[in-house]
Symmetry: D3
């Protein structure tokens, strides 16, 4: 369950059902996951969150699989059990093989290690990194 | 500077120079960044960390650019200034365009948002996500 | 259970019972939650933590409900399941309606998103923000 | 500066200027802060982020000052320097007195402490907290 | 279970068995825990991670018990349930008494509190701390 | 500086001076660091925080140096620049050698790595770890 419970499709208002329909159409599925059913108690938030996800996760300069793996990387770093579970499955559905998964985990682990080491050693940023991506 | 200072190439022991040489050869650069120069005060750690990075970041099921962008995603989530600065430049050198960077930031921001929302709503994991990648 | 188990009221020393009594009197309840029963294995810590909470969460420039919602916001950001569960209920008991809860979650989500975005873009702090609250 | 630099009002496209105008109108200010100027390199993200903020931070069941203080609480917990600096000033502008600020900091500190203690003691959630806000 | 399942000793390849054997020999146990059995799906990662742990956790300027308690402190701060559970037991096996455990928890809680307070107050680093450990 | 500025000894109220005196006496120093001078704007918080620190960091089942190194470990994991700077110096003053510091950093890095890996692999806790320290 969740703090406010779940809004199931059959119990949803027309406004919420419209969003559920768009999720299912966009994702080519007939399944609404617990996260959507939980935040559906707040229809403006459901709508806003879904519209943001739809825009952000669409194919672009980065393909959907890469975006999904980035989502997993963030969720692991944040220790978010729900998101790790759901996005690992999503990434698989979008083409992540077991081999990709293992490499993803290795990179996430290593990045967490060196993030802390460089901070623990109080290393100042090199001048050549201070221009970011500005030419 | 850093907690113990930097070991510059000209002041390094043969052991440390060998690792610096391998970093420069592998990365096709003549630059040793501040992170390496800081942890070089602990040669076993320098060696172990470099060997791990070399193995983990090599091309595999995931290409080096994807791995570098995952590294940025973790570093942003961890709020690690040094790593954001250095890995943003690395990712660019490996082919990350400004368009890719912007999408990467959007995904990282969104993932951090929904990680917290799903946890705040105490949403339990759907049964269909509980099998991970096990068939 | 917990790492060291729980100290139930009936098994508690006079010192611990005195603190349990003060918690129940202050909070107008006859319930001692698992957190207190767990740290009661360390009576100085139980005492210190309770005295701190009592002082910090008392009505002041901020009312108890606002303080409780801040506690929830921090607990969600830290992904602390126990604290989210307990402080959500506490906030409700202090007057948090479902509508307030939903807005609290939306703000927490959004803040986590922009925290990471501004850091990912390596944005420097505006001069006009550098004086804090000093006139 | 920032990773991609800033888009100043005078150099902005009509699309970006329209968003800058809406920010200034809504916030009753003639100032566009560095965060907006940084993400303006990605107009869809600027637009989406501003629209989200405008909706989420509007007066509702929670007033704008409470929402701003929650934003500060999250930013402190995430150790985000930019957001702490900017939202501390925003909260002050919305009515946060020094007394409120001090209490906010005390609550944030205490919540971070007990979040970690309860997790360190591996305390299981009390049954009476497991129903969330569901009656 | 775990995302890819567990590799049990009897089902392991010679390469993985060799690492399991080394873990058991080094740790003087006949038990392989779930973490090793999970990452064993990625033999290079299993090997690299075990070799790193073996090197890092060996007696040195810090004794194994101190290192194990530091491991617990990090795991609690990161809210990592698995690591808190496993490293609390390891620390106990290496000599951590209940009294030590309680003090460890108190320090971890306090450090998390003041970390956030000093950041929330935007305190700049004292000059006398800026030289790190450099004489 | 800091959000509210610093309260210097010469400008402090008798109440605050008494706490400054106790800090200097307890720590055998004539220096009050920026953290204390910042929170001194909130005398109850200054007093409560100092009293807590004094109690928690006193010699006990864990010696002061071990407690200080745990403090550093937490501060690094939280990426708290001020605390890393100040507690690294404190630990050195309490006896931490460069060799100890390097090992501390290596353990903190490794713990952060495996914390994330075990969570990313969604590893369930072994039965033999579920009893904590309860016999």
């Amino acid at each position: 369950m969740s703090t406010l419970g779940f809004i199931e499709y059959q119990d949803a208002s027309p406004e919420v059902r419209a969003i559920y329909d768009d999720i299912m159409t966009t994702r080519k599925t007939d399944y609404i996951n617990n996260f959507w059913k939980a935040i559906a108690h707040d229809p403006p938030t459901l709508k806003r969150t879904w519209e943001d996800i739809k825009q952000i996760m669409a194919p672009g300069a980065l393909d959907p699989l890469t975006k999904e793996m980035i989502y997993v990387a963030v969720s692991v770093t944040n220790q978010c059990s729900y998101c790790i579970a759901s996005h690992t499955v999503s990434a698989h559905q979008k083409g992540m093989t077991d081999a990709m998964f293992k490499e993803l985990m290795a990179v996430v682990g290593m990045a967490n290690e060196t993030n802390k080491m460089v901070t623990g050693y109080q290393v100042e940023i090199d001048d050549c990194f201070k221009n970011g991506l500005r030419s």
